[in-house]
């Protein structure tokens, strides 16, 4: 490769950690060679297409596929009847928790369609044209039912009911009639009345946000090929091919080992590719047709049938003393779950005030089903909208008590040993350091002009560990292959290679990091929860250490000395006496057959010790008082990364989270018409930021090492999206004096607010 790494000094005490090598998968990605989900065509392959509901809520009275089946070119048709009905229950754990019954009904509707875009049949044909013609020939008789989208309306006693068997969990006494409220979650600590009694200043507001989509550029795509032996090979992009294997098998009524999933490169996920949609459908179609079947969603299908995350209504009340100490928070949050239970409302409750020390807390959350697609994880699920509310109120409180908003945050900052808002005691965290980083950044003191304003906000995210596997092979030439089961969305292969190079003591370009299929590496959880560099990294480090132990043992064998006399330094075995010529991995690999066979080791973990992440951000805006247009002038984000393995990709995660948050703040939203049909299922009117909308996004990587990782890594993928909405709202307030409490803060809403204020 003609390209070289940007020179950056490694972290003190390290040779590779903290440097910025060119990512190993980069060359394929800049030359067009990388294969994504839609990039595979097989001989004899059929094209699949999915019939989707035109109604937001309807009973399916009948589906007649006979005409479609008889059409030229059509090789298979499936409906819900082709998939087993699964039992309800909680399956999986942590970020992969789901209800099999809901999943199977979401992938293919049974008696009812619950949102516009809900899949209810699919065909495989010899061309896309024929597949679409066959879809048009499927006759469905619907009884259209009233639908509901707004959470308040969905919670009302007379609301249309989505699920006749949905009884609210978490309330006493247990309700006897169904409702759209799937569950109630409560955080109740301290004495809320006492807390507000101590307060000199109390602010209370209601906030509204709309559903937003993860917006990955690559639509969901799969090629499934079921062979004569009944086994399926599934090629697709996802955030976890083991997840795809498990779900696909379960939805087909198979054992997981009957399905092999080959991970394609993934064109973005942000949480949205942590579940399945078309993968089981393509597999069943392939089984029926006896041919490979490819399904690629259109952009319109991506918007109408995947993602998004919840819109919500939040009411919060915050109290503080006149000297700026938070005394109490209370409030309620109702999140749209989409068609099936499982919004991230509990996470919203837990995260909203997590950066602070507050003794008296009462927060209740409602998980509310509505007639839109089942929500899917989106970067720090549940936290951004809750933090929009909490961080806006904190800005207001700081203003009321006359404190600088960053000083106010420092004054109330949570730290090690302090009880978190959500219960447990905080371990070593770097929140305070992120606030100080912004305070000390030149950005914070740049003078502002007319109609300009500055806002700050902070955010918290848990970060996860979870199950990961890794295998390390020393090749005959002394290089290393590092196999993991973690799809690489944002450069994680480079991080794996850096950690392996550090442990093995070899050049980072002598490490080949590989994302292996479900039959070539041990089970690994999804790439999500900011877990890969931490958890899969732990597995890689562990496997490398086993390899190093083996290499030392082999050197000891060659030298005929005790293994304790062999040290591993800079990729070479050295004898403690120094009187033997060191042996490199290459030397030892060349002789491997004679010292016990190939050198390889595997490791697997259910990683603990993921360190929590905090981010503090500052945003400058200029508001056009005549049009309501908000221009982002400057943006700086400080985030605790624990220890940056590859700083460029840490910065990239920070910048990407901010950009998504700015989109969420200003323009992104699902817009539905009166029938519950999404009106903007495309990039033209679902307005994600384009390059000319944004300034450079300055980053400050704060490093407060995580004691739970040998290098101090903390996950960095998610927390960056938590603060931007409040940072932008607070900046708009600084520019205009207006407190906006609805997202998106589109020009229409800003101008309305200016007008209402007599502007």
């Amino acid at each position: 490769m003609t390209v070289t790494a940007t020179t950056t000094d490694p972290q003190p005490g390290y040779k590779w950690v903290g440097t910025r090598p060119v990512r190993h998968d980069g060359l394929d990605k800049v030359t067009g060679r990388a294969r994504y989900g839609a990039d595979l065509n097989l001989p004899g392959m059929l094209i699949g297409a999915v019939l989707r509901s035109p109604h937001a809520h309807a009973r399916i009275l009948s589906i007649d596929t006979s005409a479609a089946e008889a059409m030229e070119g059509v090789r298979a048709v499936v409906t819900g009847a082709d998939f087993p009905m699964l039992e309800s229950g909680g399956e999986g754990s942590g970020e992969e928790y789901y209800d099999p019954l809901d999943l199977c009904r979401n992938v293919m509707a049974r008696d009812k369609v619950l949102y516009e875009g809900h899949a209810l049949a699919a065909v495989a044909a010899t061309s896309r044209r024929e597949a679409l013609a066959a879809l048009a020939a499927i006759e469905v008789d619907y009884e259209v039912l009233p639908h509901v989208l707004d959470v308040s309306e969905a919670m009302a006693p007379d609301a249309p009911i989505l699920h006749e068997d949905l009884i609210t969990e978490g309330v006493e006494p247990v309700p006897t009639t169904p409702s759209n409220v799937a569950s109630r979650y409560v955080i109740d600590r301290g004495d809320i009345e006492k807390g507000f009694a101590e307060a000199d200043v109390i602010v209370e507001r209601e906030f509204v946000t709309q559903p937003v989509h993860q917006g990955y550029i690559e639509p969901h795509a799969v090629v499934a090929d079921v062979g004569e032996d009944g086994k399926a090979t599934v090629f697709c992009s996802s955030q976890g091919h083991f997840m795809v294997r498990a779900h696909t098998a379960e939805l087909l009524g198979w054992e997981p080992s009957r399905v092999k999933v080959i991970p394609a490169e993934i064109g973005g996920g942000f949480g949205g590719k942590t579940t399945v949609y078309v993968e089981p459908v393509a597999t069943r179609l392939s089984q029926k047709a006896g041919r490979p079947v490819k399904i690629v969603m259109t952009r319109d299908e991506v918007f109408r049938a995947t993602g998004p995350t919840s819109g919500c209504k939040i009411r919060l009340k915050v109290g503080a003393t006149r000297d700026g100490r938070l005394t109490a928070v209370s409030g309620s949050m109702a999140y749209q779950a989409g068609a099936f239970k499982g919004s991230p409302v509990s996470l919203g409750c837990m995260c909203a005030f997590a950066p602070y020390t507050i003794e008296n807390v009462f927060l209740e959350g409602f998980d509310v089903v509505v007639n839109m697609p089942k929500v899917t994880a989106y970067r720090a699920p549940g936290a951004p909208m809750a933090s929009f509310a909490s961080e806006t109120l904190l800005d207001e409180i700081a203003e009321r008590v006359g404190m600088d908003p960053l000083e106010f945050r420092l004054h109330n900052a949570a730290e090690e040993g302090v009880r978190s808002v959500y219960g447990p005691i905080h371990k070593r965290i770097g929140f305070r350091e992120t606030v100080e980083a912004v305070r000390d950044h030149p950005h914070y003191s740049i003078e502002l002009g007319p109609n300009q304003g500055r806002g700050v906000a902070s955010g918290f995210w848990f970060n996860f560990g979870g199950s990961s596997s890794a295998t390390v092979h020393i090749n005959e030439d002394g290089t290393a292959s590092v196999l993991t089961g973690s799809p690489d969305i944002g450069g994680s292969r480079a991080s794996m290679a850096l950690m392996a190079a550090e442990e093995l003591g070899i050049d980072v370009y002598d490490v080949t990091p590989i994302v292996s299929d479900t039959e070539s590496v041990g089970y690994t959880d999804v790439t999500g929860g900011s877990r890969v560099t931490h958890a899969t990294g732990l597995a890689v480090i562990d496997a490398c250490r086993k390899v190093v132990a083996d290499l030392r043992a082999r050197a000891a064998m060659v030298w005929d000395v005790d293994v304790d006399e062999v040290e591993w330094v800079d990729g070479r075995a050295q004898h403690v006496s120094g009187d033997r010529a060191p042996m490199t991995t290459r030397d030892l690999a060349a002789d491997a057959a004679g010292t016990g066979g190939p050198i390889t080791a595997s490791a697997a973990v259910n990683a603990r010790g993921a360190g929590a992440a905090f981010s503090t951000q500052v945003c400058d805006v200029e508001v056009d008082p005549e049009t309501g247009y908000v221009k982002i002038l400057r943006y700086t984000t400080a985030q605790d990364a624990g220890r940056a393995i590859h700083p460029s990709y840490v910065e990239g995660q920070m910048q990407g989270g901010v950009a998504q948050g700015i989109g969420w703040a200003l323009n992104e939203e699902y817009i539905f018409d009166a029938d519950g049909t999404m009106e903007n299922p495309g990039f033209l009117d679902y307005r994600m930021p384009v390059a000319s909308d944004l300034p450079m996004i300055d980053t400050v990587i704060v490093e407060v090492p995580n004691p739970g990782h040998p290098y101090g890594v903390r996950g960095v993928g998610e927390v960056g999206i938590v603060p931007p909405m409040a940072a932008v709202a607070n900046a708009i307030h600084d520019a205009t004096g207006l407190r906006l409490s609805e997202l998106p803060m589109s020009p229409v809403k800003v101008l309305e607010a200016i007008g209402a204020n007599g502007g």
């Binding site: 998968d25 800049v30 639509p219 993934i266 969305i489 990709y649 390059a691 000319s692 450079m696």
Partner: protein
């Protein structure tokens, strides 16, 4: 349905393909010619992932009917690297970590090339507007914009103005 025979030049080589008359150039390049580096993100001209240079101009190949390519000269991401190695944009994208998931990268590289072909020394704002038709959801554009500016500088050094 009868197919249309198209003769054109793709990445410097003479090429022929058969396409449906209503097929997009994007679909023909991917599924007929086999150039999978041309990506589909939306098929409506709103994301730029399918960008190609068609007769010297930047285009969304999803908005071109394949038969229109008769006689045309097409450059895709696969044609950017030459015998001497990578295009400077490819180098600076790699060095500057301008890609995360990489699905938008081919489109940005092609758009970047189209920009630098006509404006070798763009300002940051010119770069931002030149790639405003290309969506990236991962990077926040910061490193992409820097990498295009870096490539311009590198090309300027390699070929100083006479």
């Amino acid at each position: 349905m009868s197919r249309k025979h198209v003769t054109c030049t793709i990445n410097g080589d003479p090429a022929e393909f058969l396409c449906e008359e209503d097929q997009s150039l994007l679909d023909a390049l991917r599924d007929v010619v086999g150039l999978m580096g041309v990506k589909e993100g939306c098929a409506t001209g709103d994301c730029g992932a399918c960008s190609v240079i068609l007769d010297g101009r930047l285009n969304c190949s999803c908005l071109v009917l394949a038969p229109e390519a008769e006689g045309a000269t097409i450059v895709t991401v696969e044609g950017m690297a030459g015998p001497d190695g990578l295009h400077p944009l490819q180098e600076t994208f790699l060095e500057g970590a301008a890609l995360q998931c990489g699905i938008c990268t081919p489109g940005f590289l092609v758009a970047g090339k189209a920009l630098l072909d006509r404006n070798p020394d763009p300002t940051e704002e010119e770069v931002r507007y030149a790639v405003a038709g290309n969506l990236c959801r991962c990077t926040g554009y910061d490193k992409i914009v820097r990498s295009i500016l870096d490539a311009a500088a590198r090309m300027g050094e390699a070929a100083p103005a006479s």
